[in-house]
């Protein structure tokens, strides 16, 4: 899509339906699309969600809000531990958890957005996290087959967007955001600032606008 629509956070979260898989950017709360997450928690009834995010927020913050509402059926993350309530929910059988090494998690999303059907990585070979996965020796080194990850909707944050939906990220708030913008049927970017097209230097654009379907201004 090339005509990126500017919509409100409430309109954005209406695009998320019960049973959907939702990708959410951010490393903890750094670079997380907090306006969109809050709108999802406060103005949407969508439940039974699969959430793909490096962490499940913090207690009562970010995705931690959604978790407290019991709306996350399954989490796919590299570090649930940063929210003890997420760990408790898994132990209580209230949420399924799929744990991936962080680099595998990132690469699986990249692959999902890039049309790659899977990849072999040496990471996790011979460990608990390789159980049930195909292993293959490549140049004598055990590798594990990992599958791509895609979502129905991606919620990402960028410090700056232009009106076409080109995105620029700031410092370490970039993290998983550019990857997730590529790997969902609908990508919604929350932007700290929205400038006219042409004002971002073309060379500084990290996410070209063809990935972005909707823009939401952070208030």
């Amino acid at each position: 899509m090339t005509a990126t629509g500017l919509i409100t956070a409430r309109e954005a979260v209406r695009l998320i339906k019960t049973g959907d898989t939702v990708m959410v950017g951010g490393f903890g709360l750094v670079g997380a699309p907090l306006t969109l997450i809050d709108a999802l928690a406060d103005h949407s009834d969508a439940t039974d969600l699969t959430v793909i995010s490096n962490n499940i927020g913090e207690p009562g913050k970010g995705l931690g809000k959604l978790l407290r509402q019991g709306r996350i059926r399954r989490g796919i993350s590299s570090f649930f531990t940063s929210n003890p309530e997420a760990v408790a929910a898994v132990n209580a059988g209230e949420m399924e958890a799929t744990l991936l090494p962080q680099g595998t998690f990132a690469e699986a999303i990249r692959a999902g957005g890039a049309g790659i059907g899977g990849f072999f990585t040496p990471v996790a070979a011979g460990t608990l996290l390789a159980e049930g996965k195909e292993e293959r020796l490549i140049d004598g080194v055990p590798h594990v087959l990992e599958s791509p990850i895609r979502a129905d909707v991606a919620l990402v944050f960028a410090a700056r967007a232009d009106t076409l939906g080109n995105l620029w990220y700031r410092h370490t708030a970039r993290n998983f955001n550019p990857l997730m913008a590529t790997a969902a049927r609908i990508a919604i970017a929350e932007a700290g600032e929205i400038v006219p097209a042409g004002e971002l230097e073309p060379e500084s654009i990290v996410t070209p606008h063809l990935y972005v379907d909707y823009l939401v201004a952070r208030p």
Partner: protein, 216 residues
């Protein structure tokens, strides 16, 4: 040099000597994070943090605090001149692709073959691995910094890891408060004694079998 009493400081100071000018280094949480204090002002070592920065600088002053600038432990940092930012897939491509020279990290157990367990304790939650597996598999050199025993006195250099593995045969160097060990051709070798320890002292807190080949 003044005597170092705190074992963690001793370990960090010794581990710092394993890093060389021009190297790209990723420091884990805990003792590795004490290493920058022992690197000196102009070490030409480039610190990489897996959440997307090459060129980590010192801790920020209050005025320099920036919510968009954190390390992998989500603590505030600064970025040095010449630093660069990248997304998480690129960051781990650097790690797996062998572009990060050294990973320094803590461990719960290291086996005599160089297996490492540092992300989960059996019977407790096994729900946070972060970048640990990627780092120990990908970095060209893996330096483990750890106190030689658990708080209850059990050896952490063991024959076989009983905790969930992070990776097999991945460790190159282990620095404890008593000694430096190196893996040579897959075998554990005690190469240096620290803090006035004797081989007998080391033996008391080491379950793994090793040979002794003291340097110097």
């Amino acid at each position: 040099m003044s005597p170092v009493s705190d074992p963690k400081t001793l370990i960090a100071a010794r581990a710092a000597q394993e890093l060389y000018p021009g190297e790209v280094v990723n420091l884990g949480i805990g003792i590795p994070n004490l290493i920058p204090e022992h690197l000196g002002a102009d070490t030409k070592i480039f610190l990489h943090t897996e959440n997307g920065l090459l060129g980590v600088g010192p801790r920020p002053t209050e005025d320099e605090l920036d919510p968009d600038l954190v390390d992998a432990a989500k603590r505030p940092i600064t970025a040095l001149p010449g630093a660069s930012y990248f997304d998480s897939a690129s960051s781990f491509a650097m790690i797996r692709g062998g572009h990060v020279d050294v990973a320094v990290l803590g461990a719960l157990q290291v086996s005599e073959r160089g297996d490492i367990a540092n992300w989960a304790i059996p019977g407790k939650d096994v729900m946070g691995v972060g970048g640990a597996m990627d780092l120990v598999v990908g970095a060209n050199r893996v330096v483990v910094t750890m106190i030689s025993t658990t708080p209850s006195g059990e050896a952490k250099l063991v024959r076989e890891c009983t905790f969930p593995l992070t990776a097999r045969e991945a460790v190159d160097i282990v620095v404890t408060e008593h000694a430096v060990f190196r893996f040579r051709d897959g075998s554990l070798v005690l190469t240096e004694l620290l803090g006035g320890a004797t081989v007998e002292d080391v033996d008391r807190v080491t379950e793994a079998s090793y040979t002794v080949d003291l340097e110097g």
